[in-house]
């Protein structure tokens, strides 16, 4: 279907243009992780062991914020503003539309991972990633899984005003638990079990392997399996509960 592909590309270009025209979205997507990187980097300067662990964790957080957070926001915004409903009334195929939204999120992820990789090499002395294939596989798995979870989570958010509260109620604890368990050997067992079962900690493990140890995908299959399971769960609920319009509207 070359026509559907052309429409996807057309829609993707529109989404990119709209993204850059919205200064606050561009800020939260790029400047905030950069600030995080700079701040944490400054505090840990000279502690190479800590930096080696921090950079992959920030990369994983970037994947989550550009997919899960950004898509939950986006979908709720588009739904509550009536843009989804308007799009649904046109001949634009739904797959083209959501393909473009996903490609838009993937572009932001790729840009952020690029920034983290460059900063890791040029500023934080962790060198280039040891395992590029592992990096690509884990980033892609993370994108698909967390993007689907973001869309699925949007169904639970009743209106645009409460989006920040809902998203942060998930994003912040998940980041906190995952970072803590990843960083600390003395984390309580139950916390470790929770973190291992959530998608972010396995993503950090996978990216740590790709960036620092080069342990290879073969040693990371458990982590990949957890991310994939969340992906299946996310895709199922993303499609099943999808609402094109405001509830009660």
């Amino acid at each position: 279907m070359p026509d559907a592909l052309a429409l996807t590309w057309n829609q993707y270009r529109l989404e990119r243009r709209m993204f850059w025209r919205n200064p606050s979205a561009a800020f939260f997507n790029f400047l905030l992780p950069l600030l995080f990187l700079t701040g944490a980097g400054a505090i840990l300067a000279g502690n190479q062991h800590q930096l080696n662990r921090l950079i992959p964790a920030i990369a994983a957080m970037s994947v989550m914020s550009t997919t899960f957070t950004a898509l939950a926001y986006n979908i709720v915004f588009l739904r509550e503003r009536g843009i989804l409903k308007r799009i649904r009334g046109t001949p634009l195929p739904a797959l083209s539309y959501f393909g473009a939204l996903a490609a838009n999120a993937l572009t932001n992820t790729a840009l952020q991972i690029g920034i983290v990789v460059l900063a890791g090499k040029l500023i934080f002395g962790i060198g280039w990633p040891r395992d590029w294939a592992g990096l690509i596989v884990f980033v892609l798995a993370g994108v698909i899984s967390l993007a689907a979870l973001g869309v699925a989570f949007a169904h639970a958010i009743p209106n645009f005003e409460s989006t920040a509260a809902y998203v942060n109620a998930v994003f912040l604890p998940v980041v906190f638990i995952s970072f803590y368990v990843f960083d600390s050997h003395s984390a309580p067992g139950f916390l470790r079990q929770i973190a291992e079962a959530l998608p972010l900690k396995p993503l950090i493990d996978g990216l740590y392997g790709a960036f620092i140890t080069g342990s290879g995908l073969g040693n990371q299959l458990d982590a990949l399996a957890v991310i994939a399971l969340w992906g299946v769960f996310g895709l199922y609920f993303a499609v099943r509960g999808f609402s094109w319009e405001q509830r009660g509207g």
Partner: protein, 286 residues
Amino acid sequence: MTNTAPAIEVHGLTKRYGEREAVRGIDITVARGEVFGLLGPNGAGKTTTVEILEGYRARSGGEVSVLGHDPGSRSRALRQQIGIVLQSGGIYGHITPREALRHWAAFYPNPRDVEEVLALAGLQAQADARSRTLSGGQLRRLDFALALIGDPELIFLDEPTTGFDPAARHAAWETVRNLRALGKTILLTTHYLDEAQALADRVAIVKDGRILAAGPPRELGTHQPAHYCVTYRDGSGQSVELQTSDPTSLLNELTTAALARGERLHELSVARPTLEDVYLELTADA
């Protein structure tokens, strides 16, 4: 396209939301090139009916055909031939009307010219302004423009002028008349009687999910119990008002009697029931 089959055919349409029956058996046939108005109070089932025809909602029962398609199957071929003005449809805040129209045009096989549609909708002056800076009326015109860019055969207008000032309403009416002159079929919902009267070739009055009356706005009510109203001032200057369903014989009686008394019936008038009378009588809560 010399298709003479009706643009819209609806038989026994029903829609249930759980216990609530929003639509309870509606029949509509809209001919090609016709402007058909669905008139009724809020919550009558107008929007539910239209959204079933647009393919937004699944019906609970009945037969529906829109340009020969079942809208429930959501075929792309159908969506290429219809234009929809929703009651409230949003748009990206950072897009300009010209960009939006160019982008939407790519969805359709034979779109109209972007500049032409900007002119038709009266948006030339705002063509390059971000949509978030447009007024409510200008956004509504953008809704029109986006619905027309694909050069649709059939256009759905769901309360197109709610919230408009009188000048903007008349401008919107002009647009609808222009579309009709182009041979487009239009299904319009409104709760403004004058709008239905001014635009629609035929109207159906909807209440509680049923059609109470249907026909051309001028004829609507002549079959109804609503009465002709005869008023005059008698010889003593007293104003008299009489209701009848048979004005011919009443006038004959009155004038014969007056002439026999050597009087004149001052300010004599016979008023046909207006659409408003019919509407108010039909939609009044019993």
